[in-house]
C-alpha cells in the first residue's frame, strides 16, 4: 500500500492504494465518486473518461499510485458552481443526448475536452473524436447534436429536431 494525494474536483484527497489500483477504482471505491463508470476491461468503452491535468484520459488505464499531485476532474465536478448544469450538460438534456445514462459521464468528459481543443467542431470532427466512447442507447445522433449545440452552432436543420 502506498499513500497517494491528489486534487479531485478542486478538493485535496488522499488514500492508501495498492500498486495495481486503477484510477477508476480509486475514484469509485476509495472516494465513492461513482459517477465515473466502468463499462469494460479492455480500455475500449470510454465510460470511465475523466480529466487529469486538463487532459481527457480513460481512468481505467491509469494507476492511482502514479498520479501523486495530479489535478483530476470527474463528472461530479462538471456542473456550474451554483449546482446548475454546465452548458454541455444542459445541451445533453435539451437534445436528449442520453438514455440509460451509463455512457453519459464519459461522453460529457470527452465532449468537454473536445470543445476545449476545438471550440466549433464539425459533425465529422465530433464523430471522430468520440471514437473511443461507446453508447449502446442513443445511436449517437443526439449526442453529436448536443455537442454541436453546446459549441453554439445552430442545430435546427439537423434531422428530427
Amino acid at each position: 500500500m502506498t499513500q497517494v494525494t491528489m486534487t479531485v474536483n478542486g478538493k485535496a484527497v488522499s488514500g492508501d492504494v495498492e500498486g495495481r489500483t486503477l484510477l477508476s477504482e480509486f475514484l469509485r471505491e476509495g472516494l465513492r465518486l461513482t459517477g465515473t463508470h466502468v463499462g469494460c476491461d479492455t480500455s475500449q468503452c470510454g465510460a470511465c473518461v475523466v480529466h487529469v491535468n486538463g487532459t481527457a484520459i480513460k481512468s481505467c488505464t491509469a494507476l492511482a499510485a502514479d498520479l501523486e499531485g495530479a489535478e483530476v476532474v470527474t463528472i461530479e465536478g462538471m456542473a456550474n458552481p451554483d449546482g446548475s448544469l454546465s452548458t454541455i450538460q444542459q445541451a445533453f438534456q435539451d437534445h436528449h443526448g442520453l438514455q440509460c445514462g451509463f455512457c453519459t459521464p464519459g461522453m460529457v468528459m470527452s465532449a468537454a475536452a473536445l470543445l476545449k481543443e476545438n471550440p466549433k467542431p464539425t459533425e465529422h470532427e465530433i464523430r471522430e473524436y468520440l471514437e473511443g466512447n461507446i453508447c449502446r442507447c442513443t445511436g449517437y445522433h443526439n449526442i453529436v447534436k448536443a455537442i454541436m449545440a453546446a459549441s453554439g452552432q445552430d442545430v435546427s436543420a439537423i434531422a428530427a429536431e
Binding site: E29, T34, T42, H96, C100, E131, I134, H141, A159, A160
Partner: protein, 792 residues
C-alpha cells in the same frame, strides 16, 4: 403550436439531471455495510465432465469466506423457460434443468461451476484462480454447428436429449399443405438461404447483483440489473430457491441499458442471495465485460431458407420459411418464445400473402444461451421477408418499391387476420412507404447514383417495409400458446393529501425515460403540473405487481394500466366533489384539473378534492372510503402493431468493398406519441443497433467452442464515426384501436426495420454497378465479404 407539457409534448427528461451530474445510482455504485465480494469460476472449455473440484486451496486463501459449487445447489430448483412449446408431433419441448451453478458437466465457455466469496474483490479473484487450479474437467467434443448438432446423435449437450433438438415447431401446421400446393403452382418461386448473425446485446452497464439477508426477520433483498424485478422475484422464489415470495424484495435501481439481456433471471442472482444467507453479510457480484460476453444471453443466430411463390407480376401467393434457431447450452427464460411466437407469427409481414408456413427447429449447442435481443424474433422475420422480396423483385425485373406497393395490405383491409394467427387492428402501410420515399428524396436518387459514379463509388438504395407485433399481450391468448405467466401490467396512483402524486408502475425504465413520459400522461389527464407527479419503478416492495419492460410493452401495457388507474381516481374524485358541491354525481364534470357542476360556476380543484379525501370532515363517509389511491391491472385484448418503411442509401467502394451509409430514413407508425423527443431517440438507438448487426457485429465461436469475439477488441460495436444522422418521422399515425391511449410502442422498431434496408441497399449498389451475380451477402456486410462476393 407544439404542446409544451403533457401528452405529446417534448418534455425534457427529469432523470437526466442525475445522470449528467454523476448522481445516478446503478447497482455497482452502492456500498453496503459489511459487504463481501463474489467471483464466479467459469469453464474455459465448451463441453466437459466435472471430474473433481478441490476447494481446499481456495478456502485457505487470505480473505476467502466461502466457496460454492454446483453440489451446493443440487437440491434446489432450476431456472425455467417461460414458454412451453410443443413440437409438430405434439410432444412437449425438451427442457433440461438450468442449475444455479453447473453440476456434473459444463456446457459452454463461461458456464459458471463455482463461486468464491471473499472480503475483497482481489481476494475473491485470487481464490477463484486457486479453485480453478484445483478443478479437473475432462474435455468432451463440443457441439457448435447446428446442422451437425442435430445430425450427430452421439455428441450431446444434455445427455438425455439425443439429437440436441429442443423442439420442431410448425406454424401453422394446418397451412403446410396449402403452402406446398401454392408453391407448386406458382409462376415463379424465389429461394434465399440466409444467416441471421449472432449478436451480443452489450448494454453498457455490465450485469451486477447484491444479495442481502436479515437473519432477524428472514427477509432477503436482491438489488440487481433487471428489466423486470417482479419476474425475477417470482423465478427466484417459486422455481429456484424456494423462498416465500413475501420474503424477497427485488430492487432494480438505475440500470444502464438492457436490450433484452437483463430481462432474464441469471444464476448469479440466486448465488448472491444464498451466499448472503450463509455468511450473514451483503454479497456483491459485478460482471467484468469479458464475463458479460461469455455469460449474458446472446441474440439472433438463425439459419433460414425462405421461399416466396408469386406471379410474374410480383403478386405474392405463398411464403415458406425453414429455420434452425440456436438456443445455446441452456434454455434462458424467453429462449423458446423468441424464435416461435415472436417470429413465426409475424412472417406474413405487412403483406397480403394468403398462404404462409414456418417450420422451426431449435437446437442446443455448447455456446452461451441465446434469447431475446432488441426486437426478438421480429428482426429475424423481417430480415428474411424483406431480403426475399427484394430478391424476388430483381428476379422478375420489377422495381422493389412497386412490388411492395402491389403486396402491402391496404387501409380498408383492417382489422386483418393474417394466415399466421394475428389480427392487425389498424395501419396505413402505403402512407409510411410514400412518406419515407418523400423524406429520402427517392425521386432524386438516380442523380445521386451518377454523382457517386463520378467519384468512383457504387450507390444503392434499400427499402424495408415491416410490421411487428408487440406490447405483450393478452394473457388468455399467450396462455393458449404456452406462456407460463400472464402478460398484463399494473399501476397504483397514490394521490397524497397535499395533491402531489406517487405513481407506482410495473414497467422498468433503463433508458426509456418513463419517469418523464409517464408523468406527462398522468399530469395531462389530471390537469396538473408534471412536477407534482413522481414515477416509482423497479422495487417489488413498493409496486403492486408488474411484468417489466421488454417487447415494446412499457407504454402499451403499463402505460394503459396507469391511464386506467387515473380514470378510477377521477371517478372517485367526482363522487367526493358531488358531495362537497351538493350536486348529483352525474352532473360533475372534470376538466383542466377542476371538478365542476355542469352549467354552473361551482367547482373544486383537484387539490381540494385530494385534501378532502385525507381530511374527510365534509365527506360522504357512509358511502365512500377516505383516501385517494387506486390500482389498475390492465390486460390488453390484442398485441399492438407498429409498422413503418425504412430507406437506406449506401455507397460501396468497388476497390475495397467498404460500405458507407449515406443516409437513413424512417417513417414509422407508432399510433399516438406521448413524447416525440423520446420516441425519436428510441428509433435512433434501434436503427444504429440494426446497422451494427447489418454491417459490423458478429459473434464467433470456433469449432472447439471458444468465443473468438469476447471483447470490444474483437466484437465491433457501432461507434459515433460508423453511423450517420438518422431521419425519423412518425406523422403517419393510426392510433391503436384497442388501448385507451391509442399507442403501439416504439422501442424495438429501429432494430427490426433497419438490417434488411442496409443489405438491400448494398445488393442494389452492386447490381447497379454491374455485379449482377451478387444476389445476397450475409450480415455483417464487412468489406471482406462484400469484396469476396464481388470478385467471387
Amino acid at each position: 403550436m407544439p404542446k409544451d407539457h403533457g401528452i405529446g409534448a417534448r418534455s425534457k427528461r427529469r432523470e437526466d439531471t442525475r445522470f449528467l451530474t454523476g448522481k445516478g445510482v446503478y447497482t455497482d455504485d452502492m456500498a453496503m455495510q459489511g459487504q463481501v465480494y463474489a467471483v464466479m469460476v467459469r469453464s474455459t472449455v465448451a463441453h466437459g465432465k466435472i471430474v473433481s473440484i478441490d476447494t481446499s486451496a481456495a478456502e485457505a486463501m487470505p480473505g476467502v469466506l466461502a466457496v460454492f459449487t454446483g453440489e451446493d445447489f443440487a437440491e434446489v430448483g432450476g431456472n425455467p423457460a417461460g414458454w412451453l412449446i410443443h413440437s409438430r408431433n405434439g410432444e412437449p419441448m425438451r427442457e433440461p434443468k438450468r442449475p444455479v451453478l453447473a453440476h456434473g458437466k459444463v456446457r459452454h465457455v463461461g458456464d459458471a461451476y463455482a463461486a468464491v466469496i471473499a472480503e475483497t474483490y482481489a481476494q475473491a479473484k485470487d481464490g477463484a484462480e486457486a479453485l480453478a487450479a484445483g478443478t479437473v474437467i475432462e474435455e468432451l467434443p463440443a457441439v457448435i454447428d447446428m446442422a451437425a448438432a442435430v445430425a450427430n446423435a452421439d455428441n450431446r449437450v444434455h445427455d438425455e436429449i439425443p439429437d440436441n433438438l429442443c423442439f420442431d415447431w410448425g406454424w401453422i401446421e394446418d397451412n403446410r399443405e396449402a403452402v406446398d400446393q401454392a408453391m407448386k403452382s406458382a409462376e415463379h418461386v424465389t429461394t434465399l438461404e440466409l444467416v441471421n448473425n449472432r449478436l451480443v446485446p452489450n448494454a453498457m452497464e455490465p450485469r451486477a447483483s447484491i444479495g442481502e439477508y436479515n437473519p432477524g426477520t428472514g427477509d432477503y433483498k436482491l438489488t440487481t440489473t433487471s428489466q423486470n424485478p417482479h419476474m425475477t422475484r417470482l423465478l427466484v422464489c417459486a422455481f429456484v430457491l424456494g423462498i416465500p415470495e413475501n420474503k424477497l424484495t427485488v430492487v432494480a435501481p438505475d440500470v444502464g441499458g438492457g436490450f433484452g439481456s437483463k430481462i432474464y433471471h441469471y444464476g448469479e442472482e440466486a448465488l448472491v442471495l444464498a451466499a448472503a444467507k450463509k455468511l450473514g453479510r451483503p454479497v456483491r457480484w459485478t460482471a467484468e465485460r469479458s464475463e458479460s460476453f461469455l455469460s449474458d444471453a446472446h441474440g439472433r443466430d438463425h439459419v433460414t431458407k425462405i421461399e416466396i411463390g408469386c406471379t410474374k407480376e410480383g403478386e405474392m401467393l405463398a411464403l415458406r420459411a425453414t429455420t434452425m434457431a440456436n438456443v445455446g447450452a441452456y434454455l434462458s427464460n424467453f429462449a423458446t418464445v423468441t424464435p416461435t411466437y415472436l417470429h413465426g407469427t409475424v412472417m406474413a409481414g405487412p403483406y397480403k400473402t394468403p398462404h404462409v408456413y414456418v417450420n422451426l427447429k431449435t437446437v442446443f449447442t455448447n455456446t452461451a444461451p441465446v434469447d431475446a435481443y432488441r426486437g426478438a424474433g421480429r428482426p429475424e422475420a423481417t430480415y428474411s421477408i424483406e431480403r426475399a422480396i427484394d430478391k424476388m423483385a430483381r428476379e422478375l425485373g420489377l422495381d422493389p418499391v412497386e412490388v411492395r406497393r402491389k403486396n402491402l395490405l391496404t387501409p380498408d383491409m383492417f382489422p386483418y387476420t393474417t394466415p399466421v394467427g394475428l389480427v392487425y387492428d389498424t395501419g396505413n402501410y402505403q402512407a409510411t412507404l410514400e412518406k419515407s420515399l418523400d423524406l429520402a428524396d427517392y425521386a432524386g436518387f438516380e442523380a445521386r447514383v451518377a454523382q457517386s459514379a463520378a467519384n468512383g463509388k457504387l450507390r444503392g438504395i434499400g427499402l424495408s417495409t415491416w410490421v411487428e407485433a408487440c406490447g405483450l399481450a393478452p394473457s388468455h391468448l399467450v396462455g393458449q400458446l404456452g406462456s407460463r405467466v400472464g402478460l398484463y401490467d399494473a399501476a397504483t396512483v397514490r394521490v397524497n393529501a397535499t395533491g402531489t402524486l406517487s405513481v407506482m408502475t410495473g414497467a422498468h425504465s433503463h433508458g426509456q425515460g418513463h419517469e418523464t413520459v409517464f408523468a406527462q400522461i398522468v399530469a395531462d389527464k389530471l390537469g396538473i403540473s408534471e412536477d407534482q407527479v413522481e414515477i416509482v419503478h423497479g422495487d417489488t416492495s413498493k409496486i403492486p405487481f408488474g411484468m417489466g419492460s421488454y417487447g415494446s410493452r412499457s407504454l402499451a401495457v403499463a402505460g394503459n394500466a396507469m391511464n386506467n388507474a387515473v380514470d378510477k381516481i377521477i371517478a372517485k374524485g367526482k363522487k367526493i366533489a358531488a358531495h362537497m358541491l351538493e350536486a348529483a354525481e352525474g352532473d360533475i364534470t372534470f376538466e383542466n384539473g377542476s371538478f365542476s357542476v355542469a352549467g354552473t360556476d361551482k367547482a373544486k380543484s383537484f387539490g381540494e378534492i385530494a385534501f378532502s379525501a385525507y381530511v374527510p370532515h365534509n365527506y360522504p363517509l357512509e358511502e365512500l372510503e377516505p383516501g385517494l389511491e387506486e390500482t389498475a391491472f390492465y390486460d390488453p385484448n390484442n398485441f399492438t402493431y407498429p409498422a413503418g418503411a425504412y430507406l437506406c442509401e449506401v455507397e460501396v467502394d468497388p476497390d475495397t468493398g467498404v460500405v458507407e451509409i449515406m443516409n437513413f430514413t424512417c417513417a414509422d407508425d407508432f399510433g399516438n406519441v406521448m413524447n416525440p423527443m423520446v420516441v425519436e431517440g428510441q428509433v435512433h438507438g434501434g436503427v444504429v443497433q440494426g446497422i451494427g448487426q447489418a454491417m459490423i457485429e458478429q459473434t464467433t465461436y470456433d469449432q472447439s467452442g471458444q468465443l473468438l469475439s469476447g471483447s470490444y477488441m474483437e466484437y465491433a460495436m457501432p461507434r459515433a464515426d460508423d453511423v450517420p444522422m438518422i431521419t425519423v418521422d412518425h406523422s403517419c399515425a393510426t392510433p391503436c384501436t384497442h388501448n385507451p391511449l391509442g399507442v403501439k410502442g416504439c422501442g424495438e422498431a429501429g432494430a427490426i426495420g433497419s438490417p434488411p434496408a442496409v443489405v438491400n441497399a448494398v445488393i442494389d449498389a452492386l447490381q447497379r454497378g454491374g455485379y449482377t451475380h451478387v444476389t445476397h451477402v450475409d450480415m455483417p456486410v464487412t468489406p471482406s465479404r462484400v469484396w469476396a462476393a464481388m470478385n467471387g
